[in-house]
C-alpha cells in the first residue's frame, strides 16, 4: 500500500511539473512518515539526515568544478581555434563543416563534463559558420546537439561522477576510461549519417568557395586548446590529480588561456561565469541530495526486492530483461534528464544488475549511452534546446535530421551490449 502510494504520488507530482527534486523529497518524506506512524516525529528526522548525507560526499565536488570548466572553456575562444585547425586539416567540401563540428565537440568532450555546455561552445562557433556555408539552421542545430551528446561519454563526465557515487563497485577513473572507446565510436557513428545527409540533400554548396585556413598558423593558435585534454586526462592517468583536482587545474588553465592568451574573458566576466556555473551545479546537487531521501524511503520500505524478484522470475531471460530496461529508459528519457534518471533508476535497478552479475562499469556505460541518446531525443532534449536556441529554430524542425543520428548512435549502444569489451578493455588494460 505505502510503496504504491510513494510511486503514485511521485509520478503525479512530476507530471504536474513540480521540480524533480521536490517531488523526490516530498514523496520520500510522506512514505517515511506513513511507515513510521508510531515513531517519534514519524521518523521524519531521517529526512534532513539523508539530505545532508546524500550531499556530503567528496567525489561530488568534481561536479561544480567540471561545470565551471565547461563554462570557462565555453568563453575561452578555444572552440573557434580548434574549428579553424580542423578545417585546415580536412579542407573545404560538402559535408566537411558538420564533420568538423562533431570532431570538435568530441575534443571539447575531453575538457568539459556536460553536454549542454559543450553544445553552447560548439554551437556558438559552428552554427553561424554552417549557415554561411549554406546548411539549413535546423540541420546545423541537430548536428551540434547530437555531437555534444558524446561529451558525457568522453571523459571527464558529470554523468559518470553521479553514477560512481551511487554505485560502490565503479570508480570514477574506471568509468572515465570505460567511456572513452564507446564515446569515440558514438562520434564516428554520428559522422556517417551527417555527411551522408549533407551530400544527399546537397547542402553546404557554398562551402567549397570559402577560404581554407593556413595549416601551421591554425595549429599554433589551437595548441592551447589541444593541450587541455592532455593535461586533464593525462594528469589523472599519471596519478597527479584526483578527478576533482584535475577539474580545478583545468579551471585555472582555462582562465589563463581565456584571460591572458586569447583575451576573450575579462575580469568582470568572472562574476557571470562563477554565478552561472554555481547555479547550474546547485540545481544538479539539490536533485542528488533530495534523491537521497527517496532512495532511503525505498530501502526502508523494502520495495525493491519484490519488484526485482518479479522481474527476474518473469521468464524473459537476461537479454530480455536488458531489452525491457532499455525500452523503459528510452521512454523515461524522453521526459527526464540524465542525472535524474540515474538518481531514480540506479537504486531500483541495482539488485537486477547484481542478480545477473553484470559488470557495474559496463552497466554504467550502457546507461550513460542511453542518457546521451536522450540528450538529443525530442521533445525533452537538453542539448537540442541549447543548439536550437542558438540557431533560432524550433525543436520540431530538427526531427527529420536527428532521427538518423539517433539510429546510428543507438547501434553503438547495441554494439557495447553485444561486445562488453568495447567498454571494459581500456579500464582493464589501464589497471583500474
Amino acid at each position: 500500500m505505502i510503496p504504491t502510494l510513494l510511486f503514485v504520488a511521485f509520478l503525479a507530482l512530476m507530471l504536474l511539473g513540480v521540480p524533480i527534486g521536490a517531488a523526490l523529497g516530498l514523496a520520500g518524506a510522506v512514505a517515511i512518515a506513513l511507515a513510521n506512524a508510531d515513531a517519534q516525529w514519524f521518523g521524519l528526522l531521517a529526512v534532513p539526515q539523508n539530505f545532508y548525507a546524500g550531499l556530503g560526499k567528496y567525489p561530488l565536488l568534481a561536479i561544480p568544478m567540471f561545470v565551471l570548466v565547461g563554462s570557462i572553456f565555453d568563453r575561452s575562444g578555444v572552440a573557434l581555434r580548434l574549428v579553424n585547425f580542423a578545417v585546415a586539416i580536412v579542407g573545404r567540401g560538402p559535408g566537411m563543416l558538420p564533420l568538423v563540428a562533431i570532431v570538435v565537440a568530441m575534443f571539447l568532450g575531453g575538457i568539459s563534463g556536460s553536454g549542454p555546455a559543450n553544445a553552447a561552445a560548439v554551437g556558438a562557433v559552428m552554427i553561424a559558420a554552417m549557415s554561411r556555408a549554406g546548411y539549413p539552421p535546423a540541420y546545423s542545430a541537430s548536428v551540434v546537439g547530437a555531437a555534444a551528446a558524446t561529451d558525457i561519454l568522453i571523459p571527464p563526465s558529470v554523468a559518470f561522477i553521479v553514477y560512481s557515487v551511487l554505485v560502490p563497485g565503479a570508480s570514477v577513473p574506471a568509468l572515465f576510461a570505460a567511456g572513452m572507446i564507446p564515446g569515440v565510436l558514438a562520434g564516428l557513428a554520428l559522422i556517417l549519417p551527417t555527411v551522408w545527409l549533407a551530400r544527399k540533400h546537397s547542402m553546404g554548396a557554398l562551402e567549397a568557395s570559402l577560404p581554407r585556413p593556413p595549416f601551421w598558423r591554425s595549429l599554433r593558435d589551437a595548441t592551447w586548446g589541444l593541450f587541455a585534454p592532455v593535461l586533464i586526462l593525462g594528469g589523472m592517468r599519471a596519478g597527479w590529480f584526483t578527478p576533482t583536482e584535475a577539474a580545478v587545474v583545468a579551471v585555472f588553465y582555462g582562465l589563463f588561456v581565456g584571460m591572458v592568451v586569447h583575451r576573450t574573458i575579462r575580469v568582470r566576466d568572472l562574476f557571470v561565469i562563477l554565478r552561472e556555473s554555481g547555479e547550474l551545479s546547485a540545481v544538479i546537487l539539490l536533485v542528488v541530495s533530495l534523491a537521497g531521501i527517496f532512495a532511503f524511503s525505498l530501502s526502508t520500505l523494502g520495495v525493491i526486492d519484490p519488484v526485482t524478484d518479479a522481474i527476474v522470475n518473469s521468464g524473459l531471460g537476461e537479454y530480455g530483461v536488458l531489452a525491457l530496461l532499455i525500452l523503459l529508459l528510452i521512454t523515461v528519457g524522453m521526459f527526464l534528464d540524465g542525472v535524474s534518471i540515474f538518481l531514480i533508476f540506479v537504486p531500483l535497478l541495482w539488485p537486477i544488475v547484481q542478480h545477473y552479475n553484470w559488470d557495474p562499469v559496463w552497466f554504467g556505460v550502457i546507461l550513460t549511452l542511453k542518457v546521451a541518446l536522450g540528450q538529443f531525443t525530442p521533445p525533452l532534449a537538453v542539448n537540442l534546446m541549447v543548439s536550437c536556441r542558438i540557431a533560432g529554430v524550433r525543436m520540431e524542425e530538427t526531427v527529420r535530421w536527428v532521427g538518423w543520428m539517433l539510429v546510428s548512435m543507438f547501434m553503438v549502444m547495441v554494439a557495447v551490449i553485444v561486445w562488453p569489451q568495447l567498454a571494459l578493455w581500456l579500464p582493464h588494460t589501464l589497471g583500474y
Binding site: 504536474l16 511539473g17 521540480p19 521536490a22 556530503g56 568572472l270 546537487l285
Partner: protein
Amino acid sequence: MSTPSELPPDPAQADEATRIPLKIEDWLTVIVMALLALITFANVLVRYLTNQSFAWTEEFSIFLMIVLALVAGSASVARNRQIRIEYFADSGPPARRRALARFGALMVFLLFALMAVLSSRIVWDQYRYEETSPGIGVPMWWYTIWLPVMSVAIAGRALGLYVRRGRQP
C-alpha cells in the same frame, strides 16, 4: 517560420524583480565557487611543493559544496530553473500553466519548510550533546546550522515565486 515566443527560454534573460534582491545569493554563490576552486588548487600546489596536504580541506570543501547547493539553489528556485518535466506544465491554456507553476512553487515551499523544522531539531540535538566533526573537531552545529537557515531562505524564495506567478496576467 518560428516566432521568438516559441523558442526555448534563454537563460540569460533578465530576472523578474524580487522583493529581496537576488544579488545576496548571487554574491554568496560567486564567493563560495571561487573559494572551492582556490582551496582545491592550493591543496594541489602545496602537496607538490611540500609533499604534505591539508587534511582539513576535504571536510571544509564538502561543507562549502553543501552551502553552494543551498545558496545557489535558493537563487535557482527564485528564477524557477529547477529540473522539472515541462511537457505538460508548460503547454495548454495560460490559466492552467499558471496554476501548475503555482502548485510547483507551493510544493517546493512545503518541502523546505518541513526541512527547516526537522533540521532545526537535529541542529539542536547536536548543540545539546556537543557533537564534534570527525575531521577537524569543531562543533558539528557550526556546519549544520546552515541547513535550517538556508531552508527558510529557499522556502521564502518559493513563496515569492508563488506570489509572483499569482500576479501574472
